[in-house]
Amino acid sequence: MTRHLTRLHAYRGLLWNLALAEMKARHRQTALGMVWALVQPVSMMLVMTAVFSVFVKLPLENAPYALFAYIGVLTWLLFANTLSNGLSSIVANMNLVTKASFPREVIPLSKLVVGGFDFLVGLLLLVGLMVVFHVPFSTALLMVPAIVVIQILLIIGVLLFCSALYVLYRDIGALLPLVLQLGMLLSPVVYPVNAIPKEYQAIYMLNPMATLIEAYRSAILFAAVPALPSLVVAFVVALAVCGGGYQYFKSVERRFADVM
């Protein structure tokens, strides 16, 4: 493991370069450029706000729904976009994999960097929205970086596992969009957790994304430090997922060039 990490560290330059290359290539020849990073979360937020605070009223405890939904969407999109971009990334970079030697995890991880960049741009807008909606800036916000770390660990684990699996079983490519759609409905992106009946909440909260979105909301919207025990559990789980995913990735990595 240490050996892998040392090697990965040696290739961090490649990680940034790949991410940078993708961002540059993506924003080149577009009129709006970086603004596109905001189009998806903002449009989703607007539609959700229309649907769930105008058409159907959701029970919300004194928080603006737009901001409430935006936090959910931002969190979910970091997860979902990174995963769907990263899934086929190794296969898409076949010419690199079959011709040069470097730790392969650099490729999917570069997608996480790209997703993380979009997330940061989204956070900037979030700060703007907080000002607009007069949400106070409290010390609980200091928890946000910790939650981000947990989420990143979780994403790394799932991303590495899925992208490695995809090289061997392309079936996942058909499965993932479905899983992500269902996952979004089963996570508190558009609705609050307390909309879930009490007896189901224990099972519901097994979804780590539910814990994360809840934690973000409590820190940002309600100025409350999220329940620490659940965060610690989430951290341990995320760390385990990350380690497991990385382990799996490294164990099948050697076959990549053969399969392609």
Binding site: G13, L18, A21, N95, L96, K99, S101, F102
Partner: protein, 440 residues
């Protein structure tokens, strides 16, 4: 085979009983194998036939490459050379055995493979450098030299998708060759680009060679001989011979000569060949043209310096006076190497009705490696516009060579070198022959 287990720092690359098999292991047979098939576009293949015998690309390879060594890996197509290169580069991992490399390894294969077409040349230098494991600082230090070498200067900020394939390759080579590698792997990349760039590459090659260990995978034995000090001959995935470049290349050439000779002997000695044609009035016909060595044995493959006898069998149908014969040797791209005829050489020929034979003898063939074609003709009064019979590409022979010379023919030569001495006038021309090297 050198299998010394001294793990010193001087060993930059170690192969320890390395084998590679291209069949998936049982644990992922049902997925991986199917994808192999799909990848190979074998439509309609039944997925039930997964259990196939293992296909060993290379077996039990053991060798050590030391710091500063230049090693050539030679062998025929499909011998496993590319697999070895990929194993060295760490692109594939051995099925059994161990590959160990120390230091930065750069392969000059598939130049520009990591380029992103949307990005500019400048951005791709950084990206490709990172693929090779260089830090941003290292690339920045070499940046100007890379740009200068590649000669893409004016287009540096254009997306590389607008580059010509030559520029693409030049930029790729420029980046890879400036990577300050400890080990450089390469194959026949010198065949890309124009002559000027190839010369530039060759020069850079020598420079890189001085700093790094060097592995050249090639079936161009001339190139191997020119660049490498040691050679490994791979045959059917195993090491046939490992040793000094001259020894191994000679052994390999002898093997190739034998094989090619057997192969050509198995063929019809005289038949319709590619590009063959024939015209003439037919009073005298050339029936067969055969090649023989100095001792009269049938031969189709010669070494530089061998004797060559070309024998023409002819058939006279109509009585005639003053006939004469000609023979030409041409390369496969129809470059005229040598031609002669009996008129110009002043050889009187008397023929009678019926069959006869005439021979042309080259006591020592000065041709270098290649495939050569023979023209043979017969006419009267040196009039080749209206021959009796003129046969183009009537016979073919190969030359293999142990000489490192480049070009088509080996011309006798020696080097004279007199050390410069200030204050003394230049020595007379042709004074000393210090560096004459005799080839057997």
């Amino acid at each position: 085979m050198s299998c010394k287990q001294t793990s010193s720092d001087e060993n930059v690359l170690e192969f320890d009983l390395v084998s590679k098999c291209y069949e998936p292991s049982a644990s992922w047979v049902h997925s991986g194998f199917r994808h192999l098939l799909r990848g190979a576009k074998k439509a309609g293949s039944s997925i039930g036939t997964q259990e196939k015998p293992c296909l060993w690309a290379v077996r039990d390879l053991s060798f050590i490459i030391k710091r500063g060594e230049a090693v050539g890996i030679i062998g025929e197509n499909g011998a496993g050379k590319s697999t070895i290169l990929k194993l060295m580069a760490g692109i594939i991992t051995p099925t059994t055995g161990r590959v160990l490399s120390r230091g930065r390894l750069v392969s000059l294969i598939e130049l520009g493979a990591g380029f992103n077409p949307e990005l500019s040349g400048r951005e791709n230098i950084y990206l490709n450098g990172a693929v090779l494991g260089l830090s941003r600082k290292e690339i920045a230090e070499e940046f100007d030299r890379i740009v200068e070498f590649s000669g893409v200067g004016g287009s540096l900020d254009k997306p590389v998708k607008y580059y010509s394939s030559g520029m693409y390759a030049r930029l790729g080579f420029a980046i890879a060759s400036h990577a300050k590698a400890d080990i450089v792997l390469t194959d026949e990349i010198l065949t890309v680009g124009d002559i000027a760039f190839q010369r530039q590459c060759m020069q850079k090659f020598e420079e890189v060679k001085a700093q790094s260990s060097f592995v050249l995978v090639s079936h161009d034995h001339q190139l191997v001989r020119r660049i490498c000090s040691r050679a490994i001959w791979i045959r059917k995935g195993i090491i046939q011979l490992d040793g000094s470049c001259d020894k191994v290349v000679d052994a390999y050439l002898e093997y190739v000569r034998q094989r090619r000779d057997d192969e050509l002997k198995g063929r019809q000695p005289l038949g319709p060949t590619i590009g063959a044609s024939r015209w003439g009035s037919g009073e005298i016909e050339i029936e067969t043209v055969t090649t023989h060595d100095g001792n009269g044995n049938d031969r189709r493959v010669f070494r530089t310096g061998d004797g060559l006898i070309i024998r023409l069998r002819y058939y006279v149908k109509v009585p005639n006076r003053d006939p004469g014969f000609c023979v030409q040797i041409r390369t496969k791209d129809d470059c005229w190497v040598h031609g002669t005829n009996t008129f110009d050489d002043g050889i009187p020929i008397r023929v009678q009705l019926g069959r006869g034979v005439i021979e042309l003898r080259y006591p020592s063939l000065s041709l270098l490696a290649g495939t050569y074609w023979l023209y043979a003709g017969v006419t009267s009064q040196n009039d080749w516009n209206a021959p009796y019979d003129l046969r183009v590409n009537v016979q073919q022979f190969d030359v293999v060579t142990a000489f490192p010379d480049g070009g088509m023919v080996r011309l006798e030569h020696c080097w004279n070198h007199v050390e410069a001495d200030a204050g003394r006038p230049d020595p007379p021309i042709g004074l000393v022959a210090q560096h004459e090297r005799k080839f057997s």
